[in-house]
């Protein structure tokens, strides 16, 4: 297995670098949204989710911030977990039917909020 540090995406330019602290904060504060968004694409284990967010956003969500969210969402019936056939090492999480609706609704609201804030701040 490759180490997470080996996946580090290149930081394109200094503007992107300046943005990183805000992106970091937004993603960490709203990690449930980003986790659910990743799971809308396909079932994943905690490791895959962390890797996916890291590759897409260059933000490393620590294990201690991701796994409790997965367990809580599972308890709330938003996710269900199962071990993959032949791989008892990783527990793959999927969104339930209810979870898909909640995820979509939360993602829409999140995007609207970000757009609204962008509009307000640019006036």
């Amino acid at each position: 297995m490759r180490k997470m540090a080996e996946y580090v995406p290149e930081i394109g330019n200094s503007d992107e670098y300046d943005c990183k602290r805000y992106i970091d904060k937004i993603i960490k504060t709203n990690r449930e949204i980003f986790i659910m968004s990743s799971l809308l694409e396909k079932p994943m284990c905690g490791y895959d989710i962390i890797k996916e967010i890291f590759l897409k956003c260059n933000v490393f969500l620590s294990q201690g911030t991701v796994y409790p969210v997965l367990y809580s969402l599972e308890e709330e019936g938003i996710l269900y977990a199962e071990y993959s056939k032949g791989d008892m090492r990783s527990k793959k999480y999927s969104l339930t039917l209810k979870g898909k609706e909640i995820a979509q609704k939360n993602i829409d609201e999140f995007i609207k909020s970000i757009n609204h804030l962008t509009f307000l701040i640019q006036r």
Binding site: S62, G64, Y67, V69, S72, S90
Partner: protein, 230 residues
């Protein structure tokens, strides 16, 4: 079901454990460390509406629940059990910093419930075994400080070897013994009438407590602390 998960604690302590205290619960295997901590958390939470977090590195959540159920200790809805099994399996080749991960887990539950009052870690031995910290003393000092700053009542479970069987196996220089605000020791004593479990408070800052060993028994109704055993 008895009214308290640990009946007779008043025989050992006059006052309650104050928030911000870090208590070591030590003992050999089979001395009911996890059960005692579950019971204490259950009693501390009572009907306060506050929440507790039990982090386990050894047994699974399901196995803990089964044991507690067998001993008549009901898991309160406000007590959350977090087990590291999935995380450790998936990150086998790059073991995460478990002290930092534990802080993140605590922060998550604090944020989610707003009133996390009690924390337990089962066990320090497993943490030391897994962790590749270069300086465990410094890390442990920082971790204890963090728990105090968060005003949590914290129970850290530590398995001790049986002295009689292996007197050289115990490292007296372990930092947590000096750092802790309290130490509760659990053990086994052999007598003419057989083997008895005991509980002894070796240290408890800011609380009057007995120093004697008291008998500890477990049945289907929970734990009971009886009289002195010597």
């Amino acid at each position: 079901m008895q009214e308290s998960a640990v009946l007779g604690l008043g025989k050992l302590m006059e006052a309650e454990i104050i928030p911000g205290s870090v208590i070591l619960v030590t003992g050999a295997e089979g001395t009911l460390k996890s059960t005692l901590v579950f019971g204490l958390i259950s009693d501390i939470l009572g009907n306060s509406g506050e929440h507790g977090l039990y982090v386990t590195l050894e047994q699974s959540k399901e196995s803990h629940l089964k044991n507690m159920d067998g001993l008549g200790i009901k898991k309160r809805d406000e007590l959350h059990i977090f087990d590291y099994r999935d995380m450790r399996r998936e990150w086998m080749d790059q073991e995460p910093d478990l002290l930092e991960a534990t802080k993140d887990v605590i922060e998550y539950y604090q944020e989610k419930y707003g009133n996390l009052a009690v924390f337990a870690l089962d066990s320090l031995n497993a943490l030391y075994t897994i962790s590749d910290k270069a300086d465990p003393r410094k890390s442990m000092y920082d971790f204890f400080s963090y728990l105090r700053e968060e005003e949590l009542i914290s129970f850290l479970i530590q398995e001790m070897p049986n002295f009689r069987r292996n007197p050289l196996s115990f490292d007296l220089d372990r930092p947590e013994r000096f750092l802790a605000d309290g130490t509760i020791e659990l053990g086994l004593m052999e007598g003419r009438s057989g083997v008895k479990r005991y509980i002894q408070i070796l240290k408890m800052r800011a609380a009057k407590h007995a120093m004697e060993k008291h008998q500890l028994i477990a049945d289907e109704c929970g734990l009971k602390i009886l009289g002195q055993i010597y």
